[in-house]
């Protein structure tokens, strides 16, 4: 399977990345290589092996419904590029 430039354009849009024409070319080449690398796994014979939904053979890992301390507001907002005294601030969401 090889990625087209259009695939990369679509994925970059979904990822909210604005790529220049030159960057799109670069990413198409590089991502095609990444995908090709992963595709080598297809060469392994998996006949008769049950598909897995998870890499680790564990299931039913639960915690009790108990409260734990939350972050203070200042700690939670500490890394925000923009904030006010209560909230994260982001560029206005269109259509709201």
């Amino acid at each position: 399977m090889s990625l087209t430039r259009a695939d990369v354009e679509k994925v970059s849009l979904l990822g909210r990345l604005l790529l220049s024409d030159a960057e799109l070319d670069t990413m198409t080449t590089q991502l095609t290589r990444v995908v090709g690398y992963v595709e080598q796994l297809g060469e392994v014979n998996t006949d008769g092996i049950e598909p897995m939904a998870h890499a680790v053979e564990m299931h039913n890992v639960f915690r009790d419904d108990a409260l734990a301390a939350s972050l203070t507001r200042d700690a939670a907002l500490a890394n925000a590029p923009k904030r006010d005294s209560e909230c994260y601030r982001v560029p206005a969401v269109l259509g709201e």
Partner: protein, 492 residues
């Protein structure tokens, strides 16, 4: 028959917040109304290196709801990442369930005590467990420059319940949502408080138009975030008409090249739906299994255990009340709709009063009237079920007639006393038969005109005598007065 040449086709996606103390994958509180951004932690705001761990109670509540909705519970279920970018979604993906949901293929039966539609089973395609997103707050003062984000709600457990497109009218839509809400509140799965966003609805709508060439389906529209029953009904009615008009204008139908599932919002002030972004194809969410979460296996024995422990469900209670107390579907619906405490209260009144129908009348009319007038919950109502039951018993035994019984009821409520005490306070006693006959004879003698009218065949003229009898003794039973006076006149 409907007055328009099409059928409304509706499927609902209902999100309910589960009644847990802590969030789905972390120990932050789910309490509503806390100051912004005071209930978050590295897990729910997606800081690097944090790991989600599933809340056992959230999974259990999901299981309870799914089983009550007659769903199949697969033995194996897993969680997936649904990727999209939005400012209220800090991780850049929502942990949800894609191809292996925790439940599927169930149904919910709806009916209408007023008979506007036939009872039917609405299919449940799936019910799955996922996390909620945060909230964008609107800051009028700051103008349109910024949105403010509160992440308190991020990671709150939701059950998304997806119905099949089996719903055919706004009445059925309301019935489905009412029944779903009732079911979930009886089970203590969710409080379904719509004001607080604990129950949110997206509606998938289209219409099937009858034409001489057969049925034509319009493209499906998803109306997002309908947060009151009234909005939902108005939005559906509007959207059906809009789709019909659009079809008349353009002739576009489902499956035509260039048609797609459209997403629309509802503007209640304007009374219109409006176009939002195009619905991204599900592949655009690029779902993949969440490597941070382990799958869950639910053995059949576990499912059976939950099923065996289910609380009695609203539909079963209605059925039982109708059978064992002889009340109408309308009355059982009114009683059950008020919640389990009123069901228990009613049954006690019926048991002590000895008459299920009369008990239902007192509970659905007098008691609920008082609760509504005073804005009381049942817990605030001053009369115990036993006290009201005693009053019903007196009415059933004919010890007190209905108008006076209502006075007694009001006095009991006002002074928080027993039926006997209220009757004594109001001077109410059963008039003995000989006294009543004496009164009747006296008023018949004093009203020759009425006697003549009755003799001339106007039996209803005797009604005028009832008032006079009540003036002489307020305890006189109107039915008895009417009967005795007619007997006396008949013998004249």
């Amino acid at each position: 028959m409907p007055d328009h040449p099409y059928d409304l086709i509706v499927g609902l996606e209902t999100h309910v917040q589960l009644l847990t103390d802590s969030k789905l994958f972390c120990g932050c509180s789910t309490a509503f109304g806390a100051p912004p951004n005071t209930q978050t932690c590295p897990v729910c705001i997606g800081l690097p290196g944090s790991l989600p761990v599933m809340n056992r109670e959230a999974f259990r509540l999901g299981l309870v709801a799914a089983i009550a909705l007659n769903c199949e519970i697969p033995q194996f279920t897993k969680w997936d990442r649904k990727q999209y970018y939005y400012p209220d979604l800090p991780k850049g993906y929502q942990i949800s369930q894609y191809d292996l949901p925790m439940s599927q293929k169930g149904w919910l039966e709806i009916s209408d005590p007023k008979g506007r539609f036939a009872a039917k089973k609405v299919g449940i395609i799936r019910a799955h467990l996922e996390e909620d997103a945060g909230k964008s707050l609107h800051d009028e003062a700051a103008g349109k420059a910024d949105s403010r984000i509160d992440l308190n709600r991020t990671g709150t457990p939701l059950l998304e319940i997806v119905s099949a497109p089996d719903i055919r009218s706004t009445e059925e839509t309301r019935a489905y949502l009412t029944e779903l809400k009732l079911l979930l509140t009886y089970l203590n799965v969710s409080d379904c408080n719509m004001q607080e966003g604990s129950l949110r609805v997206d509606a998938n709508v289209n219409i099937h138009i009858h034409t001489p060439q057969g049925k034509i389906a319009t493209p499906i529209v998803e109306i997002k975030n309908l947060n009151s029953f009234r909005f939902i009904e108005r939005a559906l009615a509007y959207e059906a008409k809009r789709q019909f008009d659009a079809w008349q204008e353009t002739g576009r139908k489902m499956g035509d090249p260039g048609t797609f599932k459209q997403t629309r919002g509802w503007d209640d002030a304007e009374g219109v739906t409006f176009s939002q972004r195009e619905k991204e194809e599900s592949s655009d969410y690029r779902y993949f299994p969440d490597p941070d979460l382990c799958p869950v296996r639910t053995p059949t024995a576990e499912v059976q255990k939950v099923r065996g422990g289910l609380a009695e469900l609203p539909a079963a209670i209605r059925h039982r009340l109708e059978k064992s107390h002889g009340i109408t579907p309308y009355d059982s619906d009114v009683i059950v709709a008020q919640g389990r405490p009123l069901v228990d209260y009613y049954e006690e009144v019926a048991r002590i009063g000895g008459d299920g129908k009369k008990a239902a009348n007192w509970v659905t009319q007098e008691l609920l009237r008082v609760l509504n007038e005073r804005n009381w919950s049942l817990a605030q109502f001053p009369l115990t079920a036993a006290a009201l039951g005693e009053l019903v018993k007196l009415v059933v035994a004919g010890e007190i007639e209905i108008t006076r019984a209502k006075e007694v009821f009001n006095d009991m409520v006002a002074h928080k006393r027993s039926a006997g005490e209220s009757m004594a306070a109001l001077g109410i006693a059963k008039v003995d038969t000989s006294e009543l006959e004496a009164i009747c004879r006296e008023i018949v003698a004093a009203n020759p005109k009425i006697v003549a009218d009755v003799k001339a065949g106007k039996q209803q003229a005797v009604g005028a005598l009832v008032g006079q009898a009540k003036k002489k003794n307020p305890n006189a039973n109107p039915n008895d007065v009417r009967r005795i006076c007619l007997e006396i006149i008949g013998g004249m």
